[in-house]
Symmetry: C2
Subunit: 114 residues, 2 copies
DNA sequence: TCCATATTTCGACAATTATCGAATCACGGA
DNA sequence: TCCGTGATTCGATAATTGTCGAAATATGGA
């Protein structure tokens, strides 16, 4: 995982609305939520939400799929796992002290084993 | 751990120089590094570095102590652990799937067990 | 085809952030 | 006390980010 990728992911999460949004999706599970439902849950105007969704999507933290007229967003657990792994990777002088795979979800992306 | 605290911590890490700086301190261990040594290692002007150190310090991610004329900075493993714990806390529908205590270091601050 | 709905893109503006030289502060040694 | 060094604060500037209404795009149904 590259440093630039990590910075983008951290930047994406480093904002009240987006942090709340991401956590909402994490809790919603793989089924995800429609953009409209998220906007209502967070009390954010649609255009603002769209901006934040784009940020998270660009950072690779969430996935997008279409269902009829709705766009469904869901958290990418694999990306989150990779991020946490990176942050821990040099903890205690280079030894990974915790298995960097918190959840037994089928990762949608690479696992960055190296 | 409050959402605002988390955002501040993530914001602090969401910057190339600060991410590199924090990781440098994490690798340096509890002994830490003097500001000057960090500036040289990262190739950043002293005043710029001071700004970034203040950000990380304000976010509670690093600790500061004085040794003669030098100010020594070191990573706060407890804060990092708390942050990772928060990010995982609602993973998989509310169950913490990994013990949120990656390292066997004596935490310098509170452990936020709750 | 035409309309209604779901969502994004555009555009303009306010607010925050990063940068870094110069000035200032803090400490130790002579 | 006075000087030198390590580090921070100040101040000005450039760049990035967040906000949200209005307009545009995409899709399904009549």
């Amino acid at each position: 995982m590259e440093s630039e990728t990590v910075v983008r992911a951290l930047s994406a999460l480093a904002q009240e609305h987006r942090l709340a949004l991401f956590r909402l999706l994490v809790q919603a599970g793989p089924e995800g939520l429609a953009a409209g439902a998220i906007a209502e849950a967070l009390g954010v105007p649609a255009s603002s939400l769209s901006f934040h969704l784009a940020q998270l999507n660009n950072a690779g933290l969430i996935a997008q799929r279409r269902d009829g007229r709705s766009l469904i967003y869901s958290a990418d657990y694999g990306a989150m796992t990779a991020l946490l792994g990176f942050l821990m990777e040099n903890c205690c002088g280079g030894a990974v002290c915790v298995p960097a795979a918190p959840c037994n979800t089928k990762d949608t992306t690479e696992r960055t084993a190296a």
